[in-house]
């Protein structure tokens, strides 16, 4: 067979009779019934309802606006766990079967089936609007076609690495451990967000996390700060020590590492100069003055947040604080390596700049009476917090060298001298226990150049209450952690502590779910 045909070399006039030889060949015609489609065919949608969390990311990526989010009341709706009772419904009058919804689904619940035949008469046009479930459009199982694969996944499951001070460098001082994001890192981290808003719903103060993450991605940190101050005046503090329930709820965290929302908040707050933050927040100053005055007792986070919000509404607010500095437990209950006092000072300064007056060293009851307050103000808010520590109430726990967590932290925070012990046991496996252990470790390192701390947790290692990060960092700092052990008795000899008797913990809660370790 030649590659070129010379038209002058005319073929035979009979050559079309070639057709005749096809009489003997088997027919290539397919049967009338639909064939089975290819293994990764892009047919009608399937959605595994157990895996779907109603984050509506599919709706955002859909280029044809074919996806409607429908509320299904029977399904769980728990923003704290990151689950909504919304499910996507597909409009096949819009869909183009591009499968972008499959590739971007954070939970990998959506896939396309190998089913492709759907016809309907005019009066049945409603069947074009479908709520996909595990089985196909017509209740029959044709098998999964295009589904999530590693190749096609469009969700970035990995966090930007965060720089930390090495354990040996950090254990002898109270400098902040986490370096914070650089601008580049923050933009990249923010770009992972799919704007599902689970964080907003799960946050106790409903911070506008999707908005400020978006603003950080757009490299507009001032807008990010503006968004944060819509609902939370303690953004410096929360950017460092928040329990970040948002990150637990984050839909990216379903299959990968959640967005580092807390660190992004911190990045934005650190990136804007303090003066500028004050200006941005000043935009929220009220246009009118209500003429009412409100007294708030306690300059802790609750009192100051209330003061901030009330001041924004045009009331004149006075806060009475018994101690010399504002901040309450955030100042005295959190070690400096996690929350430097300057950050707190900045937050308080912003609140004061909104016109809130704070009267320090004014203890209600001794310096000023409640009646006076009620006379001076239209309303009085008590925001005194929980400042009493809890005890284990085991024998010997009333010894002078047995401390309660809150008291110890306050003493350490205030710089009081309580004779740093050479050896210490911390009872408990939560974040506070880790705070104590790591604070003591730093003090020991400063005083005695060695760390001798044992943490006694009742939970087994797998279900520790503290953040995994905290536990890892504590171990790196030389703290010994024993799991599944409960305190039994503090051993005292001649008024000196000699040790602690412990028992093995089998279960922490009894059958009714009450706290009753055995």
């Amino acid at each position: 067979m030649s590659k070129r045909i010379d038209w002058k070399a005319l073929g035979s006039i009979l050559s079309p009779l070639k057709n005749v030889q096809f009489l003997a060949r088997p027919a290539i015609t397919e049967s009338l019934e639909p064939r089975v489609a290819a293994p990764n065919y892009r047919g009608f949608h399937l959605n595994a309802w157990d895996e779907c969390i109603g984050c509506s990311t599919c709706q955002k990526v859909c280029d044809n606006a074919a996806i409607t989010m429908v509320k299904v009341p029977e399904l769980p709706n728990d923003p704290v766990k990151g689950v909504r009772n919304l499910r996507p419904a597909i409009d096949y009058g819009r869909c183009c079967w591009c499968a972008l919804c499959v590739d971007i689904c954070p939970t990998a619940s959506i896939s396309l089936s190998r089913e492709y035949v759907h016809t309907c008469f005019e009066e049945e046009i409603d069947s074009y609007f479908m709520l996909p479930r595990e089985q196909g459009m017509h209740g029959k199982d044709y098998g999964k076609g295009w589904a999530k694969s590693e190749d096609a996944d469009m969700v970035d499951l990995h966090r930007q690495p965060m720089e930390e001070v090495a354990p040996e460098d950090r254990v002898d001082n109270f400098e902040e451990i986490v370096a914070g994001f650089t601008r580049q890192q923050a933009i990249l981290e923010a770009s992972r967000c799919v704007q599902c808003g689970m964080c907003h719903d799960s946050c106790p103060t409903h911070m506008h996390a999707p908005e400020y993450i978006r603003a950080i991605w757009q490299d507009d940190v001032e807008e990010a700060v503006r968004q944060m101050y819509r609902s939370n005046p303690f953004s410096h503090v929360c950017g460092r020590v928040c329990t970040h329930r948002c990150e637990t709820a984050c839909s990216i965290g379903r299959r990968g590492e959640p967005i580092a929302i807390r660190w992004l908040k911190r990045y934005a707050m650190d990136a804007v100069p303090h003066e500028r933050i004050r200006e941005i927040v000043a935009e929220q100053k009220p246009q009118f003055i209500s003429g009412r005055s409100i007294g708030i007792i306690g300059a802790g986070p609750a009192g100051l947040t209330a003061a901030f919000d009330l001041a924004r509404q045009g009331h004149s607010v006075t806060v009475y604080e018994a101690l010399a500095e504002a901040g309450g437990m955030t100042r005295y209950g959190i070690p400096y390596y996690r929350l430097p006092p300057e950050a707190l000072d900045n937050d308080v300064d912003v609140i004061v700049s909104m016109g809130v007056e704070i009267r320090y060293n004014t203890r209600v009851g001794s310096d000023i009476t409640m009646e006076e307050l009620q006379r001076q103000h239209d309303a009085v808010l008590l925001a005194i917090g929980l400042q009493m520590g809890r005890s284990t109430r085991i024998p010997g726990s009333d010894h002078a060298r047995v401390f309660r967590a809150v008291d110890l932290l306050r003493m350490a925070g205030a710089g009081e001298d309580f004779e740093t012990p050479r050896q210490a046991i911390v009872i408990g496996g939560g974040n506070v226990a880790m705070d104590i252990a790591r604070t003591l470790a730093r003090l020991q390192k400063q005083h005695y150049h060695e760390v001798k701390i044992t943490v006694l947790a009742m939970e087994r290692e797998a279900d520790f209450l503290a953040d995994p990060v905290e536990i890892r960092e504590a171990r790196e700092e030389g703290i010994h952690i024993i799991d599944a052990r409960g305190p039994r008795e503090v051993m005292v000899e001649n008024d000196e502590l000699t040790g602690l008797k412990t028992w093995r913990v089998k279960a922490i809660f009894d059958e009714q779910g009450r706290f009753a370790p055995t």
Partner: protein
């Protein structure tokens, strides 16, 4: 939809022949087995029609074959999006087709705008402008899906349920109103729908209305062309 049962004319001709129903069924069967579909590729779905009609999927074994002229066609396939410019021609083509006629809406675009829902140039809902018998889902539907759709249509014709074309006559005012909304008040086609409706005995109170009155104001009758050689 405008399928109001009251609008169906009560006046029925009395049929005395005992074999009339048998004959009707036979007619319906024959109609369903011999469909000429109009060869008009209105949109991208048309690219799956050649495979349907040729060797591999062989639509002709169903008795479906392409027809180039609307005057002899039974089925109008609207294959995908219809731009406004095409829609005028499609409506005209539809009106020229002899009854009974069937419309098949293929692809997403004929149902709710499809990919081009934001586009200023395409019509969104085909059923606003003409009655549709059957929709085939897909963007674009595979030849097998088209064949399934055509088989469903044949079944509908055979059982005598495919009478959406009557809807166009019964509710002409509604369809014309939608057309006027898109094309402007001066929109007209040279076909005489009301006359045809009278012919088929399908005049209802929704056939005429404010839109047809508007049409009558503007309508220019077709004049025969002068032929000179």
């Amino acid at each position: 939809m405008m399928k109001n049962l009251e609008n169906i004319p009560v006046e029925q001709r009395r049929r005395t022949n005992p074999l009339a129903h048998v004959f009707d069924e036979f007619m319906a069967f024959c109609q369903s087995r011999s469909l000429f579909m109009l060869h008009y590729c209105t949109g991208c779905g048309a690219v799956e029609l050649p495979p349907v009609m040729t060797s591999r999927f062989d639509g002709e074994r169903l008795g479906i074959s392409p027809m180039v002229s609307p005057r002899q066609a039974d089925v109008l396939l609207v294959t995908g999006y219809v731009s406004v410019k095409t829609l005028k021609r499609v409506i005209l083509t539809y009106e020229q087709m002899p009854a009974p006629k069937y419309v098949v809406g293929i692809c997403s675009c004929t149902v709710n705008g499809g990919m081009y829902w934001q586009s200023y140039a395409t019509a969104k809902k085909l059923s606003d402008y003409m009655p549709v018998d059957i929709y085939i889902a897909g963007c674009m539907p595979r030849p097998e899906a088209v064949i399934s759709g055509m088989r469903d249509l044949m079944e509908k014709i055979r059982t005598g349920k495919a009478d959406s074309w009557k809807d166009y006559f019964r509710n002409y005012d509604h369809y014309l109103g939608q057309q006027q909304r898109l094309f402007g008040p001066k929109w007209q086609t040279p076909t005489d729908i009301i006359g045809e409706a009278e012919h088929y005995g399908l005049i209802t109170k929704n056939t005429r209305g404010e839109h047809t009155r508007l049409l009558e104001e503007h309508q220019k009758r077709l004049e025969p062309l002068e032929m000179r050689l």
